[in-house]
């Protein structure tokens, strides 16, 4: 796939570039995105907390949560773009990692409820009391510690991705086959988490959260803190991905995307590159899930549904894959459209989403962010032709 924009035009000959240089060189859109993100992260809290209610500029808590949700989605989309756009791994199961991160966070939040649950059991969450369980399952141990839960948020998705990737990449499962087994993976997890015996609340999932680090989740301050944390995580996640794709590692990864066998014959251990990229991407997805859960207040097995994963892929495709900022643009635009359409014309949403899939793949292979450069190139050619004719 053509990706001239990313290929560094000049290889650094002397000192290795600093991370900042790697990020910003020849990359106006990334700078633009990070600036916008910074402005949003600062402005939204001000508009919500400082501007009084009733003022036109006041942002309701609903809008704050909504923008926070979009940013979680954007982080997830960046994670998917990292592997799909730069390594050609189309994962149709990435929300599995997102949901696992969410569940880890949800478990911590459940343990925080303590005696305030319906059954007022100091240790067991309500659904376990309801199922007549006598003690906490082993995998719930330690989840009452914030630091431990945060490690699990990235460790569990990372571990699953590592094991899955190790198996898949080593035996050279590629392309469509990989897509289908990732879909099977998330489908299997969906079925598993629906089971009450799994100990994750079955059908209802985890909900009714009260506190985060001892602070009431309903407080505006906590909501804003979560929002800012999401913004910061998105920024750093983006920065990290940018760093990865611009590093030597990233260039090998792109070589693998363009010609896997050739990269292998040159002597690169293709499976290792893919494996680490995949694992890193899964961890980012887990982080996005963990930020998502306290903001929406629930996590249930529905998050594992294969269709969600495919929807993420379409965000990336709409925005433009292999650019990272395209993924962010796609995630925000598609989700905004979803919010508006499901509210105004609920029946139309699926038509619109379906049409989006078809139109984007047929007519916009580079996505929305690919339209502008394409137009510019066309105009340039036209000008050139005109100039020649004039001569």
């Amino acid at each position: 796939m053509e990706n001239a924009m990313e290929a560094p035009r000049k290889l650094a000959k002397h000192a290795p570039p600093t991370p900042y240089q790697l990020l910003m060189r020849n990359d106006l859109p990334s700078g633009l995105f990070l600036t916008v993100l910074a402005i949003v992260t600062v402005l939204v809290p001000i508009l919500h907390l400082v501007v009084p209610e009733g003022n036109v500029l006041h942002l309701s808590s609903y809008s704050v949560t909504l923008i926070g949700k979009y940013m979680c989605y954007a982080l997830l989309a960046v994670a998917v773009d990292l592997i799909w756009g730069y390594c050609g791994i189309l994962s149709l199961g990435h929300t599995a990692f997102f949901a696992l991160g969410g569940y880890a966070m949800g478990m911590y939040l459940m343990r925080q409820i303590g005696t305030r649950g319906v059954y007022a059991d100091p240790v067991l969450p309500d659904f376990m009391v309801f199922l007549n369980w006598k003690e906490l399952p082993w995998f719930w141990q330690g989840m009452d510690q914030f630091w431990f839960a945060m490690i699990m948020v990235v460790f569990i998705p990372g571990l699953l991705a590592y094991v899955f990737g190790w198996l898949a990449f080593r035996s050279r499962v590629t392309g469509v086959y990989l897509s289908i087994i990732t879909q099977a993976l998330t489908y299997a997890l969906l079925l598993a988490f629906f089971r009450n015996e799994m100990g994750f609340g079955g059908n209802n999932g985890l909900t009714d959260f009260k506190d985060l680090l001892g602070m009431d989740l309903k407080q505006p301050g906590v909501r804003i803190a979560l929002f800012v944390a999401t913004g910061v995580c998105l920024g750093f996640g983006y920065f990290a991905c940018r760093y990865v794709v611009r590093s030597r590692f990233g260039r090998v990864v792109q070589a693998i995307r363009d010609a896997e066998s050739r990269a292998r014959f040159i002597g690169y251990r293709v499976e290792n590159y893919k494996l680490w990229l995949f694992t890193f991407s899964a961890m980012l997805a887990g982080l996005a899930g963990a930020l998502y859960v306290p903001q929406v207040g629930i996590i249930n097995p529905g998050e594992f549904a294969p269709i969600n994963s495919i929807e993420v892929v379409i965000w990336v495709a709409v925005g433009g894959r292999g650019t990272l900022y395209g993924a962010v643009v796609g995630a925000v635009l598609v989700n905004y459209a979803k919010t508006v359409l499901t509210d105004a014309l609920p029946d139309v949403w699926l038509y619109a989403l379906g049409a989006l899939f078809v139109v984007v793949t047929l007519f916009l292979p580079k996505g929305i962010v690919g339209v502008l450069p394409d137009l510019k190139a066309k105009i340039d050619t036209l000008r050139l032709q005109r100039a020649r004719r004039a001569r």
Binding site: V173, I181, G354
Partner: protein
């Protein structure tokens, strides 16, 4: 479909099929023998007692019912039963159902039934002639009540009448019915009918009933003979009775004092248990094959589009769904004959889904050849559109597709094995569809062109094959098969907008498991996945079994990325 397959491979597959068929045939034949053995025992009473009273007038017999107490009613019923009147049975049946009334105006006993739409009045029938007597307001009738013991003896009497019915099937079910509660009258009637019985099944059933009765005999030799007669009998009554015979009570006393009888009973029980487990396994196998046949049906169209053309069609599930909805629409068009509607909906669904398939290929897929991931996304979007389309046109709720008579019911092979007809037919149907598809690909010019294009497109074109036409036709064929699968599924599951989604992942799994580009692989893969699923279910539960199969499949693909029967040679590198 792959054209060049090693002969050995085909033979191997045939061998597996033959083995499966052989097993089925064996099961069926033993089953028959057992059924004959299994029959119950009972009402010969009617035959003997009935004849003398035959001349009595039924109407006169019934007349006292209006003011009778329960004991008198029972006596009347007894007389009616032995009257030998041809309409004694429907009359007693109506009595049992509480449909017998006395007309207040003249005291005549009538059968009354609520009429559709009639609020207050009931339709009357003369019990003696079974002819209609018009309608009567409910106030003009008083019900002839029954109580538990009366109903019980009515049932008994009906069973006795049934024992002399000319239809062997009626006699057989009567025997089985009364075998559940053996008493002296039943045994007596069994003995009376046995000699006159000429149907082997009914005869065997009566013998089993008598043997069960003989187990109570004080004579050890009689009991021994009875146990021997019961050997190999699969009816649950026999199993329970023999089990209580050999199991010591809590205080250690034995129900059966004679050791020879106990030994014989143990041996008989072992034999029975063995056969029961065999039939249990056969039943599991059947359910597995049935599930497998559904998987094969759903996946076989995909084996064409994905396997032969290399196109990922995520809208495949929705093409199945369209087929199921075609069955529903056909039923609306021909509301009076569901069987005909179902049969017609097979070709109709093929055309509808096939047309959609051709449209998809011409409109979208052909622009994306060589870009499988993009095809996947575009067709997925299409699947969303089709789902929503069905929701808008038909409503988001499930639509009922009724099952025609020939598809419903159970084939009771014997007491331990029963196969439902709809699953049986769908199993056969999926094999027929498979055979037809193989024939099309192997024996028709179109099939030849399809194989040529999938092997080497430029060369096929150079030989004059219109590859664009072949692409559209192949895709249409795969889509049409999906539609046919939808008709079959409409008989098993709910027809709703999400029908297709439920099968898409399974279908891909089957195709990948069997080996892309190999129709036989799809068949074997689907069937074995179905059987494995059903084998796991008793131990793991339905959901966990499915998860285990999915995980096992994911691991399997790691080991053999090209499936059970991978393509070999140059063709394999094409995809």
């Amino acid at each position: 479909m792959k054209p060049i397959r090693p002969k050995l491979c085909l033979r191997h597959q045939l061998a597996i099929l033959c083995a499966a068929l052989g097993l089925a045939a064996f099961g069926a034949s033993t089953a028959k023998a057992d059924e004959a053995a299994a029959a119950p025992v009972e009402p010969a009473v009617a035959a003997t007692t009935v004849a003398p009273a035959a001349t009595n007038d039924l109407a006169a017999l019934l007349a006292p019912l209006a003011n009778a107490n329960f004991a008198e009613k029972e006596a009347v019923a007894q007389k009616v039963a032995v009257s030998g009147h041809p309409n004694a049975r429907p009359t007693l049946a109506a009595f049992l159902d509480g449909k017998l009334y006395a007309r207040s105006s003249d005291g005549v006993v009538v059968v009354a039934e609520a009429v559709e739409g009639g609020e207050e009045s009931l339709a009357l029938t003369d019990p003696v002639t079974q002819k209609s007597l018009g309608t009567e307001p409910a106030e003009g009738l008083s019900k002839i009540g029954t109580n538990n013991s009366l109903r019980k003896s009515l049932k008994n009497l009906l069973a006795q009448i049934a024992l002399t019915d000319p239809d062997p099937a009626v006699r057989l079910s009567a025997v089985k019915e009364s075998m559940r509660a053996l008493d002296e009258t039943t045994v007596a009637s069994f003995r009376a009918t046995l000699a006159a019985e000429n149907d082997t099944k009914v005869k065997r059933a009566i013998e089993v009933g008598l043997a069960l009765a003989d187990l109570e005999s004080p004579e050890a030799d009689t009991r021994l003979a009875a146990v021997r007669a019961l050997d190999g009998e699969l009816a649950p009554e026999v199993h329970n009775r023999l089990t209580t015979l050999v199991t010591p009570a809590e205080d250690g006393t034995l129900a059966e004092p004679d050791e020879r009888v106990r030994l014989a009973a143990n041996a008989a029980l072992d034999n029975i248990n063995f056969w029961r487990s065999v039939y249990g396994a056969a039943e599991t196998m059947f359910f597995g094959l049935s599930l497998g046949s559904v998987l094969v049906l759903a996946a076989i169209g995909l084996a064409i589009t994905f396997g032969v053309m290399g196109v990922i069609n995520m809208a495949h599930g929705e093409l199945i769904m369209l087929g199921a909805y075609t069955a529903y629409v056909m039923q609306l068009l021909i509301p009076d004959n569901h069987g005909l509607a179902l049969l017609l909906s097979v070709p109709a669904a093929f055309l509808v889904s096939g047309a959609f398939g051709v449209a998809i290929e011409r409109g979208i897929v052909r622009f994306l050849y060589g870009r499988p991931l993009e095809t996947l996304l575009a067709t997925f979007g299409l699947s969303l559109i089709l789902q929503q389309l069905v929701r808008s046109v038909f409503s988001p709720n499930n639509r009922p597709v009724s099952i025609p008579e020939f598809m419903s019911g159970v084939w009771q092979v014997n007491d331990a094995l029963a196969l439902t007809y709809n699953r049986l037919y769908i199993l056969v149907f999926s094999l027929m569809v498979f055979a037809a598809l193989v024939a099309v690909l192997k024996r028709t010019p179109l099939g030849l062109q399809v194989r040529a294009v999938s092997l080497n497109r430029p060369m096929a074109r150079a030989m004059g094959v219109r590859s664009a036409f072949v692409d559209a036709a192949t895709f249409g064929l795969g889509a049409g098969i999906a539609g046919i699968a939808g008709v079959a599924l409409s008989q098993l599951t709910n027809v709703g907008p999400n029908l297709g989604q439920a099968y898409i992942i399974d279908s891909f799994m089957v195709v990948v498991f069997g080996g892309v580009g190999n129709l036989w692989g799809t068949l074997i893969g689907g069937m074995s996945l179905g059987v494995i699923n059903k084998l796991l279910e008793p131990y793991a539960g339905a959901v966990l079994a499915k998860i285990l199969v999915l995980v096992a499949l994911i691991l399997f693909i790691q080991r053999k990325p090209r499936g059970l029967f991978p393509q070999k040679g140059r063709a394999a590198e094409g995809h």
